[in-house]
Subunit: 469 residues, 2 copies
């Protein structure tokens, strides 16, 4: 940079900073739009709307397991809230599936001494016989060890996998741990086990177990599958170390109600674009939740963030160019049923999904964004990154992101997306547990993340660039 | 200090430090004894005996509620362990009382929406009728507010006190919160309530409730009394803020088995003094526990610390002057029954209790000691404080301490004592909950605290001074 250029740059920098922007000649946003972006940031950082939405949902509706009363009530709640918050259009799109009933789950160590332990049925699990079952425990430190067990070696036993999820900022400990949850019951049944009991997939030290979805396989016996709280798993491991038999009683009344086709719905509200109304900047979260807490984090947080973000943008004097729909997906927890239905219904419209982002990753502050967009739009992404940098968001060098959770179904069909990464260190202390409650929400982080989603959505809706690959 | 004195002092300091002591001419301990004290410190800081004792107790015995199988088993465990650890004498002293059965406790919010909440019966509570009870909730922010309610104003209602315990390093938030637990059911019944439900006396944010002892009053109707987990109490408060009726279903099968006289025992093991065998330096902890966790902290920690401390001293070539008994008291949680029996049986011997200390305050590191001794022994206490100072223990200027828990019954009869204060900031996250489990023990803090108790007991058993008032 020459001295002359330096002076000009300095002058520009001073001018630009005075209106809160970073670019002399905006690549995507002009000066007025940059000022609006800045205004939106301040609004979102000062607003407690996202918190109030979560408070309302958890206090007035509660959990929202696919097919439950709370699930039905949440659809009405979401429609009412979005209408009250001035969305241009609000509608529902039906989603159907089966209704799994958790029932009760009880477990007790019988030997070496009688002791109640804390278990939860995995989502989709069958129950035990009415009187329950008592069996010796066969211990495996990892899922690989269980897979390596000889056929019939677990006849009459309860398979117990004690692998403990690791705590990491990006939640990467989840992947290696969750395999047992999803397909462990199939493998255990193939070896002859009467039931699968596994250490909860979580990082907490509470006597609260973690639930989550599991699957059976055609032709393999369906056996009950439950998770054990971390302290109880520790106890079982210590008892097993003594080398004497450890036996467990397990009674579960979980079942899938085959008679009932559960009806639920994706709830969609949009602020319609002023210039490119057919082009969609999608904001997503999921409306359903597991049934043991109130779903404040999973995914109350996402609902609060994306509804508030769209609302803030909707308060501007003029709609941005592109349409911003908030899609509150149904039945994410039980297998992305809402997202699958969405991409079926909107098949012909997928090409108009300019970009999308979901929030389904908990409490912590966002520190990184990773795009998954057409190469021609990477400069625009860098511009967005510069607007977000003062909030502590760094730009990943990768360009391979998919949307979170439901949005992955849309990304898989080519929709560009941005994945925002939060500090996920403590999310798996609460995820899918009875502890997923309002008190775990961190109001300041929530404001911060809502501001980031508001700025992102506004930017994407106004940008001249095409994000598509 | 003159330059000459300075040189002498420096030389002395160097000499003293070289043998790990602080006094040129020991007031209570001679140079050999100071060296032993130092050796004991190092032994305790390196030993994991106290941890191993807690691991064994929680893994092999489990909870130890007065009258339960675990309670009986723990007596055998304690006798065996102390014998194996070389105590000179080990014996039991029978303690009797009533046997309270927790049974099951279930609670569910009925309105505004059906939602299971987490409750625990308070120790000693009666149950509900078999079908449970459903009633509207009458909310009181404090126990004082409940006391101020007019007579009959709670007829047909469940009284709910939402006061939240504060977190403090010295646990001083416990006192203002625990009153409702002990006598709240009496006051609520006097106003006509069908049941008392109170926010748990604890500082955590888990869906685990806190139990603890409560009392009824002759002539006042016995109503069921339960605690609600903190997140559930928050939810109830938020729902009540809407101004619409909030109703709760409560079903408890708790009862006191009037037919059964429960038998348990104080377990005592001693290292007999070499010169003053009739003078007693008592180390205490309580062997019983609540029944919802495994009693690893309350009072597994105390058991581990005092048994290990005495054992370390017992490994010296020669017994100290005074006798060191470890008293593992029975039935502390249900009303200090073991301590009351102890002072009855040892009435004529109380005068020989030279000094005593208990450990019943959890996980954190000790940072302060407060004596409650005869004024003539305060210099000796200062000497002890100087030995403990390098471990971060400060000496309180007060001289009014009583023993913790059980030992308070002995202090009340004139036994001198020292109260060691730990960082209690997080103890009430776990105290009296399902979360009182082995994983909460902090091994390094435990070694540290064991070292302090070892040094204290050795010092008190060797000191020439009389601690009595």
């Amino acid at each position: 940079m020459s001295p002359k250029t330096k002076i000009i740059a300095s002058t520009c920098l001073a001018l630009c900073m005075s209106v809160g922007s970073f670019f002399v000649s905006a690549q995507q946003l002009n000066a007025e739009q940059q000022a609006q972006l800045n205004e939106l940031k301040n609004t979102a950082l000062q607003s407690d709307l996202s918190y109030q939405l979560i408070e309302s949902l958890t206090t007035e509706v509660g959990h929202r397991l696919m097919g439950s009363e709370g699930d039905k009530k949440s659809i009405v709640w979401a429609v009412d809230k979005m209408k009250a918050l001035g969305f241009d259009k609000v509608w529902t799109e039906e989603v159907t599936g089966s209704y799994w009933l958790r029932g009760d789950a009880k477990a007790k160590i019988i030997a070496p001494y009688p002791h109640d332990v804390v278990v939860l049925a995995l989502g989709g699990s069958v129950g035990t016989a009415e009187k329950g079952l008592t069996a010796n425990v066969a211990h495996f430190e990892t899922f690989a060890d269980l897979k390596a067990a000889p056929d019939n070696s677990l006849n009459g036993k309860i398979a117990f996998v004690s692998y403990q999820m690791e705590r990491h900022i990006d939640g990467k400990g989840y992947g290696p741990a969750v395999g047992t949850r999803v397909t462990g019951a199939v493998v255990a049944a193939q070896k002859g086990a009467s039931a699968l009991v596994m250490r909860s997939v979580g990082t907490d030290n509470n006597r609260t177990a973690h639930t989550g979805v599991m699957r059976y396989k055609d032709g393999v016996k369906k056996i009950p599958a439950a998770t054990l709280s971390n302290p109880d798993a520790d106890l079982l491991v210590n008892q097993l170390k003594r080398g004497k038999p450890v036996s467990l009683f397990l009674k579960m009344t979980a079942k899938t109600d085959a008679e009932v086709i559960a009806k639920t719905a994706n709830v969609i509200g949009e602020f319609t674009g002023s210039e490119l109304p057919n082009e969609i900047v999608a904001l997503g979260a999921h409306l359903d939740s597991w049934d043991v807490g109130t779903g404040a984090l999973d995914d109350g947080l996402g609902i609060g963030m994306v509804v508030a973000a769209a609302h803030h943008i909707g308060q501007l004097p003029k709609r941005p160019k592109r349409t911003i729909p908030v899609i509150l997906f149904a039945a994410e927890e039980v297998g992305l049923l809402g997202a699958k239905e969405y991409v079926k219904v909107h098949k012909n419209d997928m090409v108009n999904h300019a970009i999308g982002a979901e929030w389904d990753f908990g409490i912590g502050r966002i520190y990184k964004m990773t795009p998954g967009v057409g190469a021609q739009s990477l400069n625009a992404i860098r511009e967005l990154a510069q607007y977000l940098a003062p909030l502590g968001v760094s730009l990943s060098p990768d360009n391979n992101a998919k949307g979170q959770s439901d949005m992955s179904a849309l990304s898989n069909l080519g929709m560009p997306s941005i994945n925002f990464s939060p500090d996920g260190s403590n999310y798996f202390d609460y995820h899918h547990t009875e502890n997923d409650t309002l008190d775990k929400v961190e109001p300041e982080a929530l404001k911060f993340n809502t501001a980031i989603y508001t700025m992102y959505a506004y930017f994407a809706a106004q940008a001249a660039v095409d994000f598509r690959k």
